[in-house]
């Protein structure tokens, strides 16, 4: 387990030293939300706020995926991680946890503020936050798979978004549904189920993709 926590610690340390990367993701998140405000006008904004916040969060999360494996792929560290006694699935999980802490959590913190600005209806905030707390780890898990698949590809950034965005449509649907109190607990339960499923399958598929990328 020392190795598992060492990987999380190292990723967090790198992430915190590159604070500008985290703030760029947050700035992008806020910018997309602002674009929607300009695009649809302030009057109808309240009804759209949940969808706008979720869409902006998805796009912002896509931007942060390249720092998951690309640095290790470039500097040879990926080979060493594969050759470490820590099972590669756990390496992936450690990286995903660190990614969620440095990308998902900041988005989660900024979301209520943007919700205020977008006139999110009063009762929607708890649903938005619960949904995002369950949904952003799924983004990190699926995003890790995308990031691993495109290692060594041309135009990797666009490609990751093209591969992953269709797969996260269910997260978007249930996440936005969770912001409407009228939908009850069902969307949150669906999100929780998807999180468990992703937790079981994604590290395994990502590890398979990583093994192929180094030879």
């Amino acid at each position: 387990m020392t190795g598992f926590f060492a990987i999380i610690l190292r990723e967090l340390r790198t992430g915190l030293r590159h604070l500008s990367d985290i703030s760029a993701v947050l700035a992008f998140f806020a910018l997309v939300a602002t674009l929607f405000a300009f695009g649809v006008g302030p009057r109808t904004l309240g009804d759209l706020a949940g969808g706008v916040l979720w869409t902006a969060a998805l796009l912002a999360a896509m931007l942060s995926l390249d720092r998951l494996f690309q640095p290790d792929h470039d500097d040879g560290g990926l080979v060493l991680l594969i050759l470490s006694p820590v099972p590669l699935e756990l390496v992936v999980l450690a990286k995903v946890i660190a990614h969620w802490l440095t990308a998902g959590v900041p988005i989660l913190v900024l979301a209520p503020l943007l919700g205020l600005a977008l006139q999110l209806p009063e009762g929607s905030l708890p649903g938005l936050l619960t949904g995002m707390a369950l949904g952003t780890p799924i983004l990190s898990l699926l995003g890790a798979l995308g990031a691993a698949l495109v290692l060594g590809a041309r135009r990797a950034g666009v490609l990751t978004a093209l591969l992953i965005l269709p797969l996260v449509i269910p997260v978007l649907i249930f996440g936005v549904a969770a912001t409407d109190p009228a939908n009850g607990a069902a969307p949150v339960l669906f999100l929780a189920a998807m999180l468990l499923g992703a937790l079981a399958l994604c590290p395994w598929a990502t590890a398979a993709a990583l093994r192929q990328s180094v030879l």
Binding site: T2, D75, G76, L78, L80, L83, V86, P87, L215
Partner: protein, 220 residues
């Protein structure tokens, strides 16, 4: 010392393909505790690939590798746990300090103490640079930092791919001393190098050439 006992690490009749084309075939080796194996051969003869095969990273297209008589494919994670692989690229993050980098790569392998890491840095004459970020180190110093991992976390097999590239004379001396100490304590070393590295006798040789097949094995 080779008589009687079964070898610790053995490869038999190994063949390797890369990009649909055969690099070598019929390669074999047998290593007993304290042995050093020197891989030689022209560029493109497959030295790096053979080291990757020995690490279990690359699947050979034929042949098998045994550790204490058991196929390494049976438990690749265990095999990875008993080896150090130092390749061309060192895997150091530019933004982390030398000490953080060494501590990380050692702790991924084993719960290593800070003391031990500092000692390893000292052996490669990096102690005074320990709090500098890796990006501030020269390429030779970064190479020493990678080699210090060999001393910080113990492992039975050292697979070294051109370890001496960019090292100055004192760095080379540190490497040679580390290898000699490792062998005296019963460890194995496999080195692919074009730079002469002074090794204590006996050294086993394995020459890969593009014709492959014939693999002279001799002590020098």
């Amino acid at each position: 010392m080779t008589a009687g006992e079964a070898p610790l690490f053995r490869g038999e009749d190994i063949a390797c393909r890369r990009g649909g084309h055969e690099l070598f075939h019929g390669v074999g080796f047998a290593l007993w505790p304290g042995d050093a194996l020197l891989l030689t051969g022209p560029n493109g003869s497959g030295k790096t690939s053979l080291l990757q095969v020995m690490a279990g990273l690359r699947t050979p297209s034929a042949g098998r590798l045994d550790w204490q008589g058991r196929d390494i494919r049976d438990d690749l994670a265990a095999h990875a746990g008993r080896l150090h692989h130092i390749g061309h690229r060192t895997g150091s993050r530019a933004i982390l300090t030398a000490r953080e980098d060494l501590l990380f790569w050692s702790r991924v392998r084993a719960p290593v103490s800070r003391q031990r890491c500092l000692l390893a840095l000292a052996r490669f004459d990096l102690l005074h640079l320990r709090d500098l970020p890796v990006q501030a180190l020269s390429s030779g110093q970064q190479r020493r930092l990678a080699l210090a991992r060999l001393l910080a976390a113990p492992a039975d097999i050292w697979l070294l791919d051109e370890p001496a590239v960019g090292l100055d004379l004192s760095g080379l001396a540190s490497l040679e001393a580390a290898v000699a100490r490792h062998r005296r304590s019963g460890g194995l070393v496999v080195i692919a190098t074009h730079t002469p590295v002074e090794l204590d006798n006996p050294v086993r040789g394995l020459e890969l050439d593009r014709a492959s097949g014939q693999v002279p094995e001799h002590g020098s």
